[in-house]
Amino acid sequence: MSPSKRYHALTIDEQKCIGCTHCMKVCPTEAIRVSNGLAEIREDRCVDCGHCMRACPVKAIYVEQDDLKKIQTFKYRVVLFPAVMIGQFPEKYTEDQIYAALLKIGFTHVFEVEQPIGILKSSIKDYCRKSPANRPHISTFCPAIVRLIQIRYPSLTENLIRRKAPHDLGAHFAISELKKQGAKDEEIGLFYVTPCNAKISSVKSPVGEKESIVDGIINMNDLYNRVMKAIDTKEAPDTSSQRQNLTRDGILWSLTRGEARHFGERSMAIDGIHNVIRFLERLENEEVPDIDFLELRACDQSCAGGIMMTGNRFLTVERLEHRARRYAPAWKLQNTPAIKASKELKQKLIADQIISKPAFSLDPDRERALEKMNRAQRIICFLPGIDCGACGAPNCQALAEDMVSGNAKMSDCVFLQQMWENEGKISTSKAFRNVEKKWGELRFQADCNKRGKRNEGF
């Protein structure tokens, strides 16, 4: 798939965006620029980490999702969700009540994706054992991290484990279970509930897989609200049979150390994309000791901190840890029918090799790239180094790089313009028109109702 066709879940609402540069400043890959007073995301640089959404004070960055009505076209309507979803509900709601609410919303079957996790675990173990040369093995659990490695740490793509994620496990497992009950392929509709936009992109345009297995995506915050509306605190039916293959290990899988605790003699778990970046820089330089397994997650507290999670991430972790204690560890489930019949499922968890997609080169032609780098270096001498963002680029260096790529001009720097005015090189009205072009007309007029007047949320 060409990078431009890659599915991205994030959209910027031009009606809401106030061009405040908050998103641009937090993006770990410098994928955002502001022009005409609106933020724009550069597709080839975006890793879907969701940091920009978190930082937006007016919620102008949103995630598209599938219409829930789509489920009605299927006879078997399966909701697949990561166990982390349970953790965000207040403790007073039981698992049974949450499951019952999901059925009330219109699903016929409820599956937490991390079951039977033992199959994925042993598949990953097999891979690690058979590919000792690619150590440290890096988990492909978090799609934002996979993408980050593809575009920014291409030499590390070989270290990515060629196994799929729990949502694939859950999907294949659900299909095989339903088929046992007589369901036909076309009658089964699988709907995956996502904690983040990264998982959406990876489900819609999977990396290392041919096509997506899921029929639709539902945002977790949206479903949370629906469940809260439908939930009944009075007694709920016993739905435990749908959790027969859920284990302690499965419930903890998407939390920090959820994977790392299982693999290798020396393993590490790092959460938060900026922490991960600092670590990958070192790993790439071979400045780290001999590590077997790396669990890397874009969100602080891993999926408990997913951008579409409701509720406090630490409380979510606490509830899940508490919940996990009531479930048996995965190794105790070795003789269940599901595990015994897991050969086929295991085969389905094997993914293709992940290829790199470096997104930071200045030009496909090396001589030209070097020439551009030289020019950027010279331009930097003229920029003030304040990294203010008023040019619409995240920092002076990025502006210089945009300039040599033909996407920005010297006059975008407001301080340079000031200096030129002072030196009589540019008229005040021309300079003012330049800033208006960048930030929108009327932006600088007194108006108590204009967009961006208040930064709600700060």
Partner: protein
């Protein structure tokens, strides 16, 4: 395209600064990932050697369309027997340095392995100059 960095002897927290900067630029040039890796590993080892064994140093990087030349010049004790120093496992690193996770005696051997040309000139009591060339 030329770059220059300074290295402070004894300051391990800054070691790796030059190699990270150079890495960023090589990525911008679109150099093959494996090739970048070799260059960065060699340069990092060179940086660490100045930090661990010398008093102060300077790095000059010259990037050309098909090769990169790095020169690491330091003021320091120098190396009396370069051939011996090149041997894997040979190290005069102090206990303190080894406790910080450096000084396994693999640095110079790794530099040799990861560069196309490596020349070392050294005068005992004055300093050392390491020159590395990688083609791409």
């Amino acid at each position: 395209m030329n770059l220059e960095f300074n290295i402070e002897g004894g300051n391990f927290s800054r070691a790796g600064h030059a190699s990270s900067e150079v890495k960023k630029m090589l990525k911008q040039l679109g150099i093959d990932a494996r090739c970048i890796k070799s260059i960065v590993i060699a340069l990092y080892e060179g940086e660490v050697n100045v930090v661990a064994h010398a008093y102060e140093g300077r790095i000059l990087v010259k990037m050309e369309p098909h090769k990169i030349t790095t020169e690491i010049m330091d003021k320091g004790p120098g190396i009396a027997d370069i051939e011996l120093a090149m041997q894997e496992g040979y190290s005069t690193a102090s206990k303190a340095v080894r406790e910080m996770g450096f000084g396994a005696g693999m640095g110079l051997a790794n530099m040799k392995k990861n560069t196309d040309e490596l020349t070392i000139e050294s005068t005992v009591g004055e300093g050392t100059t390491v020159k590395m060339v990688n083609y791409f």
